[in-house]
């Protein structure tokens, strides 16, 4: 079902945990749907110095969060913003079709965390299209 890469990131997730006094925190998803993803950022000079995550969700959700944190660490906020769920899927060497939304969660979580940082800095949050593909989202 899952690629070796997904299983690797699921079995040995990178950057699990929280960052005390994080510069930005993004939480997306919904426990009702069986997935919540939380990403913490440490930012210096518009560069993501560190990222950590906590995820309640399936194997794909855990692997997507792990991969997402790897992809954004060391990137500028602008570059990190532009990391799409497709990039996460590619880096994971594919996800089953029913699991694509798990990677969307990762993209959304990055956006949320960056916007949280911006708001804390007194900047306007960047507008995001609502991308979440959840069928079970609360009406």
């Amino acid at each position: 079902m899952y690629s070796d890469k997904v299983m690797d990131h699921f079995m040995n997730p990178r950057n699990v945990g929280e960052i005390e006094n994080a510069d930005g925190v993004g939480t997306v998803g919904n426990a009702k749907c069986g997935d919540i993803m939380k990403i913490y950022l440490k930012v210096e000079d518009d560069v993501i110095k560190d990222a950590k995550f906590k995820t309640f969700g399936c194997g794909a959700a855990v692997a997507s969060s792990s991969m997402a944190t790897e992809l954004i660490i060391g990137k500028t906020l602008d570059d990190a913003w532009n990391i799409s769920n497709k990039a996460v899927i590619e880096a994971l060497e594919g996800l089953p079709p029913v699991k694509v939304h798990c990677s969307v969660l990762a993209e959304d979580a990055i956006h949320e965390a960056i916007n949280d940082y911006r708001v804390k800095k007194g900047l306007e949050p960047i507008h995001v299209e609502h991308k979440d593909l959840h069928g079970c989202e609360e009406e």
């Binding site: 079995m11 929280e18 426990a31 993803m37 309640f56 194997g59």
Partner: protein, 397 residues
């Protein structure tokens, strides 16, 4: 070699060697078409009739009340659609429960689209329906009550004899999906007043792709599969001879000492349940504590999600399931867990461990060693757990 602990007997069981050996000659040597006149056809015909007797005996039915099908789902579809269509003249109301297998629920939805009315009885927190509610639901239009014998997810066993008695009094047909019960719980269709009963061989160490429907003599039912004259012109198609032979042998073996078999499993099951509740905080047992399949354990671990749990268990060689095997891959939590009153959140963290012939006491010890660590690991990455701790939840670690 990696240790393999198969704890998903409710999803399917291996075909036992004894059963397979019985089947083998019917593939290559005794392969005649049972409908033929010549001897190699007649010999498969009588082997099928022997299997029919084996099934009838175990259920206390008559041989000519047993019809072989391509599995449990076909039997369920046949029972419901067949009775609904043949008795539409009397009425178009069917009563079932909210915790049936999809092979019943999706047929009910289909019937609803085709002009039938279906009442889905709720269940209590243990998964039991109320006889009073059933009684109140029956109207002049009711033609069929379908209540599963034992639930595939939470293992709860209904009060089938009581339901049967009520249905007989009310003169409505009573079907029970006994796919999980056969081979685990004694069944007597006469004493329990069952009119139709579905079963599937691969749940009791027989082969996949073969099942049976018991139809009490006199029950009005239409065919599901039309065609040739097989199964007394009620279920067309060249008979799955090896499969039917296997089903017969498997049901015979499973019911030889059904009591002893159950006692052994119940002991292991209870040890597992008690161990999990003791070792893992925020764990809840789903289903009735006593009216429960001998091999069924179903628990929810708060703050974690089922699929991740299954993957980590698989890494440790433990095969288990979360909700019914049929719906894994879908995102909705199990309808059964929601029906017994669990929140979506908690239902997502469910785990079913189903024990069987191969399960040993060492397997239980192994699970009780491995599972708490896995749950802890997942909780440590769960934002829900983090939140819970921050809110000052008294976690009794």
């Amino acid at each position: 070699m990696k240790r393999l602990v198969y704890m998903d007997h409710a999803a399917t069981t291996p075909t036992s060697t004894e059963v397979l050996n019985e089947m083998l000659p019917y593939f290559t040597e005794k392969f005649g078409n049972p409908s033929s006149v010549y001897s190699i056809g007649r010999e498969t015909k009588s082997a099928i009739e022997k299997a029919r007797e084996q099934v009838a005996k175990v259920l206390n039915a008559d041989t000519n009340e047993i019809f072989f099908t391509g599995g449990g789902s076909e039997a369920d579809n046949w029972a419901l659609k067949g009775v609904a269509m043949a008795n539409a003249g009397k009425g178009k109301h069917i009563i079932t429960t909210s915790i049936e297998h999809h092979a019943i629920l999706h047929v009910c939805e289909y019937l609803e689209k085709n002009g039938y009315k279906v009442t889905y009885l709720p269940v209590d927190k243990d998964g039991l329906i109320s006889i009073d509610e059933l009684k109140n639901a029956v109207t002049d239009e009711t033609i069929l009550v379908s209540v599963m014998f034992a639930n595939n997810e939470i293992g709860t066993i209904q009060n089938i004899a009581e339901i049967g008695k009520l249905c007989r009094e009310k003169k409505v047909y009573f079907h029970t999906d006994a796919v999980q019960a056969v081979g685990n719980v004694p069944i007597d269709v006469k004493e329990m007043n069952i009119d139709l009963l579905s079963l599937s061989a691969h749940k009791f160490y027989g082969p996949k792709g073969v099942g049976a429907l018991y139809i009490r003599k006199g029950v009005k039912i239409q065919q599901l599969i039309h065609g040739g004259g097989q199964e007394k012109s009620r279920r067309a198609g060249t008979e799955n001879v090896p499969g039917i032979i296997g089903l017969g042998k498997a049901i015979e073996i499973a019911c030889l000492d059904i009591q002893g078999h159950a006692e052994r499993l119940i002991k292991l099951r209870n040890k597992l349940i008690e161990g999990l509740i003791e070792k893992i905080p925020h764990t809840r047992l789903n289903g009735h504590f006593e009216k429960r399949l001998p091999g069924n354990v179903n628990v929810c671990f708060e703050f974690i999600e089922g699929e991740s749990l299954l993957l980590l268990l698989d890494e440790m060689g433990i095969c288990a399931s979360s909700g019914s095997a049929c719906s894994s891959g879908s995102l909705d939590p199990s309808h059964v867990l929601l029906a017994i009153g669990l929140s979506h959140e908690i239902a997502h963290g469910s785990l079913r461990l189903s024990l069987g012939e191969a399960t040993t006491d060492e397997d239980i010890d192994y699970i009780l060693d491995v599972l708490p660590k896995i749950v802890e690991r997942l909780r440590n990455m769960s934002p829900l757990y983090e939140e819970y701790l921050k809110k000052g939840g008294a976690v009794n670690v």
